[in-house]
């Protein structure tokens, strides 16, 4: 039993952090037309093999596990990476056609994320994406977007564009079971943990240098204690994320309960930290040029996919857990 990244896991996390801070820095979101994963970023990520982390070797993947998947998406979250990255990785897992799978793993073809919304669907991701992925706790389906009726909507979150889809064709392929949902939950939870960590880092750094009344604000307890609470909630969400991704890797019977808990804790920790981070920055925290609102808006989006509060908690209430 061990519950912290070690050895190869830590190396992969470090490599992902270095690569993403270069290829996908959060600062990009201050420029125009910054939403989504465009074709060149997709090709770059594909070249590095990042879409194939949790894909078995026999199917052209790296043969790594849910743990590396979570470690990677936590780094994606720290940079407010677009949700298309997760859609692409999940779709590569879904594909039974080798040809399509290779194109997805290589980033040659793009995938956007579909989310049910009443009679319609919401579409998150690049206009360059040819495919849409819809994942539910019961099954997952891949659609061609070529003829789908899509309508652009103004998006709150600069990291992802937002469309409404009123009709979808028959899926290109589908798979039953909760496997993709679980990987999606872990990916989204990991991104949220990354956002919580990024928000905490921002305010801790600022609290050391911003002075009022002749002292750094980090010396005031109203600030210190709020930071301590952020740190605790983030730590709890991270510990549960490690537990849950390892439980999935080891195919434990209670993995889905641990994943639900991980998503719930990540939802709460990220929203709490993103909120407090803005407040504790004062006026600068509400400006467009600051990263604080980017973290909040992306967290809002992520809390809406792969399980939000009510659904997660009602599944969790009577869930049985193993030793």
């Amino acid at each position: 039993m061990f519950l912290a990244p070690e050895g190869d896991e830590a190396e992969i996390a470090d490599a992902a952090a270095a690569f993403l801070s270069d290829a996908l820095p959060i600062e990009r979101l201050h420029a125009p037309d910054c939403a989504d994963m465009d074709a060149s970023l997709r090709a770059l990520l594909g070249e590095m093999g990042w879409f194939a982390l949790a894909l078995p070797e026999a199917r052209g993947g790296s043969g790594l596990t849910a743990v590396e998947h979570a470690l990677f998406f936590r780094e994606v979250g720290r940079q407010c990476g677009p949700i298309d990255i997760l859609a692409q990785a999940l779709a590569a897992n879904l594909c039974s056609s080798a040809e399509r799978r290779e194109a997805l793993v290589a980033g040659a073809k793009g995938v956007a994320m579909l989310v049910a919304d009443g009679d319609c669907w919401r579409l998150l991701g690049s206009h360059e994406a040819e495919l849409g992925l819809l994942v539910t706790p019961e099954d997952a389906s891949l659609y061609s977007l070529a003829d789908a009726a899509c309508e652009d909507r103004a998006a709150l979150d600069p990291a992802n564009s937002l469309r409404v889809v009123s009709a979808l064709p028959d899926p290109l392929e589908s798979r039953e079971g909760e496997q993709l949902w679980q990987l999606g939950q872990l990916g989204a939870a990991a991104m949220l943990v990354g956002i919580g960590e990024a928000a905490l880092d921002l305010i801790v750094d600022y609290a050391k240098v911003r002075e009022t009344f002749g002292r750094p604000i980090g010396a005031y307890q109203a600030v210190r204690h709020a930071c301590a609470d952020m740190a605790i909630r983030t730590e709890a969400a991270r510990a549960q994320l490690w537990y849950a991704s390892t439980a999935l890797k080891e195919s434990r019977g209670d993995a889905s309960a641990h994943i639900d808990a991980a998503k719930h804790l990540a939802n709460e920790a990220a929203m709490g930290s993103a909120d407090a981070n803005i407040q504790l920055h004062g006026g600068i925290g509400v400006t467009d040029e600051h990263d604080a609102h980017l973290l909040l808006k992306h967290a809002l989006l992520l809390t809406r996919i792969f399980g939000s509060k009510r659904g997660l908690l009602s599944r969790l209430l009577h869930a049985r857990l193993e030793d």
């Binding site: 912290a4 980090g218 210190r224 609470d229 709890a236 969790l316």
Partner: protein, 393 residues
């Protein structure tokens, strides 16, 4: 990362479960008085005789020499088996921090004398750190010690000393250098509670008990040989004690919380509210219970992460304060919620945890968030040591 238990871990859990099934005391623990401490001594003695005491203590000091993870397994099995609760046991201080402090900082003679007595339940300990004017600010303590030949003469008063009336020994922190300030000039002593000149006055609490006390020292002579660490170096020994208290001290409660939330969910499935529906059928109650359950899952994950890390490095990290905050706030949220749906039964309380554990836990939530360093102080420590923010003090 992995969640697998070794074959030894699995066998250990099975043995523990089997033994506890037949050996957990069936009779209620008396709520207070000598009968309560005798019960605790007997239970600890039984654990010792049957080879269950000091799971993670080294073999050379009479422990089982097992891993921190096996210690966790043991606590999990204890709470599942409804064994006597750790946090109200009068053996708590001895097991959780006095023993470990003597082990880490004591002399060979001190270890040889005290550790077997602690493990077998023969000696109970109390903690004489806080004073009327030194709680959060422990380094403001004034109880005075004067070295006289091979003894130290102690004068002053300690406050909030839990179970002083039952304890055989005290962790006594005093100022031996009258000119010293703050953290300097302190000394950590083993005080035999039968020494002449000690007077114990109980303080009645909101839990309707007399467990905490004021302890007065009037020319109490303690052998110099009872100093743990150096004369004048007591702060360093005290920090070791506090790190055991805040680190390992809450493990049993952390894991018990996980069991307790399951019992609360069961309870909510049996209690009818005014509108005739079961408590669990109310969305807000069900949601809050599930959210607390998620928190206890995270607490367990944090505990396992911390313990398995410590098993490798040999040293606990700086996260004990975060753990204590997480545990005390979750404990409070759970007992508050149960109080909301339990109805009038919650208002019946005779001071005995055995009759009404939920009300006792509710009242205990303030003990939890104040004793052992308040939640505000734990936030301070987290801000200082984990986040390295500028000092407030």
């Amino acid at each position: 990362m992995d969640l697998r238990y070794s074959d030894e871990d699995i066998a250990f859990r099975a043995r523990a479960r089997e033994w506890l099934k037949d050996n957990v005391p069936q009779e209620r623990r008396p709520a207070s008085g000598k009968a309560a401490s005798q019960f605790d001594r007997d239970w600890q003695g039984k654990l010792f005789e049957n080879g269950w005491a000091g799971v993670a203590w080294p073999k050379e000091y009479g422990g089982l020499g097992l891993s921190g993870l096996q210690q966790v397994i043991w606590y999990e099995e204890l709470s599942r088996a409804h064994a006597p609760a750790q946090h109200i046991s009068t053996a708590y201080v001895a097991q959780m921090h006095a023993g470990p402090t003597v082990m880490a900082r004591g002399t060979e003679e001190q270890r040889a004398f005290h550790l077997p007595r602690i493990l077998s339940g023969k000696s109970l300990w109390c903690q004489g750190f806080s004073e009327p004017n030194a709680g959060s600010d422990l380094a403001a303590l004034k109880t005075k010690g004067t070295v006289d030949g091979d003894t130290i003469i102690v004068n002053g008063a300690k406050m909030w000393t839990t179970d002083a009336a039952h304890a055989d020994f005290m962790e006594l922190l005093i100022r031996t250098d009258p000119d010293s300030q703050r953290h300097k000039g302190l000394t950590w002593l083993i005080c035999d509670m039968t020494t002449p000149g000690i007077d114990i006055k109980p303080i009645r609490t909101m839990l309707q008990d007399d467990h905490v006390n004021m302890v007065f020292f009037d020319d109490v002579r303690i052998p110099l040989a009872n100093v743990v660490g150096e004369v004048g170096g007591g702060w360093s020994t005290a920090l070791a004690t506090l790190s055991f208290e805040r680190g390992l001290g809450f493990i049993a409660d952390q894991l018990e919380l996980f069991e307790r939330v399951g019992r609360a969910i069961e309870l909510a499935g049996t209690v009818r509210l005014d509108d005739g529906r079961l408590a669990i059928e109310h969305d807000d109650i069900a949601q809050r219970l599930a959210s607390i359950k998620a928190d206890t899952m995270a607490i367990r994950a944090m505990t396992l992460a911390e313990i398995t890390e410590t098993d490798r490095t040999g040293e606990p990290g700086p996260k004990g304060s975060m753990m204590k905050l997480m545990v005390t706030t979750t404990h409070k949220a759970l007992s508050q919620l149960v109080g909301e749906f339990l109805g009038w039964g919650f208002m019946e309380f005779d001071g005995d945890r055995a009759t009404n554990p939920w009300t006792h836990d509710y009242l205990w939530s303030w003990v939890f968030s104040i004793a052992g360093g308040t939640n505000e102080i734990q936030r301070e420590i987290t801000a200082d040591r984990v986040l390295e923010l500028p000092k407030a003090r």
